[in-house]
Symmetry: C2
Subunit: 386 residues, 2 copies
C-alpha cells in the first residue's frame, strides 16, 4: 500500500485477467462536511484502478461496492493470491467491463474498514480509533467523497457508474448528485428505498453487535471487540443473500461430517450450519463491527422518494442513460423494487431500461457467473449512446 | 395451577367466549423413552381443555402449538386477563372450533418451558434444572407424550388434530403414528421436511443463545441466562413470521418517536426497530433459552420423507382425512411445501384436500383473524365424514 497519488498503472494483464494490482490511498487534505452537518478535517479513500484513462479523460467507470465489499474488485495482490477481487468475473481485459477500453476505479466507501476513513481510523484528537465518534455516514456522503477522488484523478466525466445492492444505491445517487458528470448508470439488485423488512434485518444485526458485552459502546481495540455479535449478524445477513432454492440445492439436509451424538445435539449437525459458522468466522477477521453498524445505518436511511418527494422528482435532473437489473430470486431487493426504479426514470422522461434475470441464486446473483449478465453489461457500456 | 387429574370443567362461557380456564398438569408416572434412546423416569405435560368429552369419548380435538406457543390457546386465566389464549379467535362456543360440540385439548410440548417437562425442569438426581442434560426431543416424542395424555383423559379417538407451523408437523406425525386414533388432520403453514433455509435461521438463533456468555453451557439460574442471545434469536425469527408487504404496511419507514439525534444514530430510529426490540424483551420474560434450543432442534430434525423413504410411504398407514392449508405470503413454510403434503397424501391413496389462502400477512397468517380460514376449519371439522 503506498501513498502515490498518480493514476495507477496496473501490471501487464495475461489472458483476460487484470493481473497484479495495487491499492492506493487518496488523502483529501481539506475539511469534509457530512450530510449530518458533522465534519472531518480530512479523509482517506483506499482505491484501485485498472486500465488507463484516455486522452479525453472520459472513459472512466466507477465500481460501487455493497455492504461488505471493498476497493479490491478485480485482479490479484500477489502472484500467490488465490482469491481475486470480488467482481473479477466481470472486470478485466475483454471481459464485460473491458479494461482495455475503460479506466475502472473502485474505492472502499467512507465509513468502511478496508483502508478508507471510518470508525476504526485513528482520531488525531485522541490517538485512538474514532469508534462511534466518527460522523454518521450516508450513501450521499459516500458518493460525494468518491467525486473528490474522481476530481483528484482528473476524470473529466464518468462513462459509467456500476454497482449492485448498496452499490446500486450509490449508482443512483451519483446520477442524481452529479447529473452532468455521469453518462451511464448500471444499478442491479438494489432499491430506491430500504423497506421495513430490510431495516429490520439490519437492526437485528446491529443489536447482536451492540449487545455483545465486548462492544463497549464502540470503544474496543483493533482485533478485539464484539466478534461474537458480528459473526451472528453476518450469519443472519448471509441467509438473506441466498435463496431457499439455492440453499436447498447446495446443502439440503445433508448432515455435517462430525456430530457429537450427545443428547442435546447442539453442535453442528447439518452442513448448512458449518457453512454459516464458517461465514461468520471469516467475516470477523476482515470486517470492523463499528463499520458494520455505520454502513447498515447508511442503507437504512437510503430513501430517494422520501428525500425528494417522489422517485420521479428524485430523478428530475438525471442526464444519464440507465440500465436497472433485477434478479427473480432476490428476496432482499426483489425484482419489483428494481423495476420500479426504471419505471420512475421513464416517467421522469429519462432513458432507462429494466431487465430481469431469471436465476434461483438469490440476492448474490449479481456477483456470480452469468453469461447473460455479462452480455447485458457489455452491451450497455459499449453500445453507441442513444 | 393444580394437580387435579380429572377432566377440566371450564367456567361458564359468555357470548361466544371460552371464558375462564385453568391449566392442569398431567403427570405420567412411568418411564418415558425418547426417540434418541434416552429416558426420563417420569414427565409432566401442562394442558388446558375446553368443552366436554361426549359419552362416546370421540369428540376430542387436540390443538398443537408452534415453537413459541403453549397450552393456553383459548379463554382467559383471570377476569382481568386482557390477553386470551393464542388461538382464541378460532376456538370457543360457536367459533370455527366449536367448544359446544368438541372437547378441545391443548398441552405445552415436551421440552417446553410453560409447565411441561423440559430443560428448565428440576432434575431430581441433582436438584438443579436439567439444562442440556434433558433428553433430545423430537416432534415424534412430543406426539407420543400427547398420546399418553389422551389415554389419561380416556379419549377413545381424536375427532381432529389441528396445528400450524410446528403444530402442523405434530398433526402429520399424529396421523402417521396413531392411524387408528385420528379421524381428521388439519395442518397449516407447515412442512413435511425442514429445509436448509429453515435450519439456517434456527441455527443463527441457537448461536446467538449459545455464544452469549451468560449461557454457560445451558447451566444458568431461572430468570438469568442468555437473555441477550434469546432476544436476538426472537427478533430475527419474528421477521420470518411476517412478510415484506405486511411489514411495509405496518411500519414502512416511519420514524421512532424519540431518537438521540447523535452522530452514529444507533438507537432506534425507525418504528420497526422499537417493535422488534419490544418483541425480544417480551419473549425473554416468558421463554427459556434452552427450550428454544431444544424445540428448534426438533424442528430441524423433522423430515418425514427422510424418515420413511418418501412422503407417500410416510403416509402409507394414515387413515385420517386431511386438510392442508397454505398461505400465499408465507415464506418460512411456503404454500408449495403445504401443497406437496396434500399431493403426497393423495398419491398414497388418502382423502386429502389442499386449500390456499390469499394473504399478505406471512407465516403468522394462520394465527390471525380470517373469516375464510374460519369457514374452512369449521367445514372440515363439522361436515359428515366422506
Amino acid at each position: 500500500m503506498n501513498d502515490a497519488e498518480d493514476i495507477a498503472l496496473p501490471a501487464q494483464p495475461e489472458s483476460g485477467e487484470v493481473g497484479l494490482v495495487e491499492a492506493r490511498d487518496f488523502h483529501h487534505r481539506a475539511e469534509f462536511a457530512f450530510e449530518s452537518g458533522q465534519t472531518l478535517p480530512e479523509f482517506t479513500l483506499r482505491y484501485e484502478t485498472y486500465g488507463r484513462l484516455n486522452a479525453t479523460r472520459d472513459n472512466a467507470i466507477i465500481i460501487l461496492h455493497a455492504l461488505s465489499g471493498d476497493h479490491h474488485c478485480a485482479g490479484i495482490h500477489t502472484l500467490n493470491d488465490r482469491k481475486p477481487g470480488w467482481w473479477n468475473n466481470l472486470i478485466g481485459p475483454g471481459k464485460a467491463i473491458d479494461t482495455t477500453k475503460f479506466f475502472v476505479v473502485c474505492s472502499n466507501v467512507l465509513g468502511g474498514c478496508q483502508g478508507s476513513s471510518g470508525p476504526s481510523s485513528i482520531n488525531p484528537a485522541t490517538g485512538r480509533a474514532y469508534g462511534t465518534a466518527f460522523p454518521f455516514v450516508t450513501v450521499r456522503d459516500m458518493v460525494r467523497s468518491q467525486k473528490l477522488l474522481c476530481d483528484h484523478l482528473e476524470i473529466a466525466c464518468l462513462h459509467g457508474v456500476v454497482g449492485g445492492s448498496m452499490g446500486g444505491m450509490q449508482a443512483l445517487q451519483w446520477a442524481i448528485e452529479y447529473p452532468g458528470f455521469v453518462r451511464r448508470v448500471l444499478a442491479m439488485a438494489t432499491t430506491a428505498r430500504e423497506n421495513a423488512q430490510g431495516i429490520a434485518f439490519n437492526e437485528v444485526g446491529r443489536q447482536a453487535i451492540m449487545q455483545d458485552p465486548e462492544w463497549h459502546g464502540g470503544d474496543y481495540a483493533k482485533g478485539a471487540g464484539p466478534r461474537v455479535g458480528l459473526a451472528i449478524a453476518r450469519m443472519m445477513a448471509h441467509i438473506t443473500y441466498l435463496s431457499d432454492a439455492s440453499m436447498d440445492r447446495k446443502f439440503g439436509r445433508r448432515k455435517a461430517g462430525a456430530t457429537d451424538g450427545t443428547a442435546a445435539g447442539l453442535d453442528a449437525q447439518f452442513e448448512v450450519e458449518n457453512y454459516l459458522r464458517h461465514q461468520g468466522e471469516v467475516f470477523i477477521n476482515r470486517f470492523d463491527a463499528n463499520s458494520y453498524l455505520y454502513i447498515t445505518r447508511a442503507i437504512d436511511h437510503f430513501d430517494l422518494p422520501g428525500a425528494h418527494g417522489s422517485l420521479e422528482r428524485a430523478f428530475a435532473a438525471v442526464q444519464a442513460e440507465s440500465l436497472v437489473l433485477g434478479f427473480t430470486s432476490d428476496w432482499l431487493f426483489p425484482p419489483e423494487q428494481n423495476r420500479d426504479i426504471a419505471l420512475a426514470l421513464l416517467r421522469a422522461g429519462k432513458r432507462a431500461t429494466y431487465a430481469q434475470l431469471d436465476t434461483d441464486l438469490g440476492h448474490d446473483s449479481f456477483l456470480l457467473e452469468s453469461p447473460q449478465l455479462y452480455d447485458l453489461v457489455r452491451d450497455f457500456l459499449e453500445r453507441a449512446r442513444a
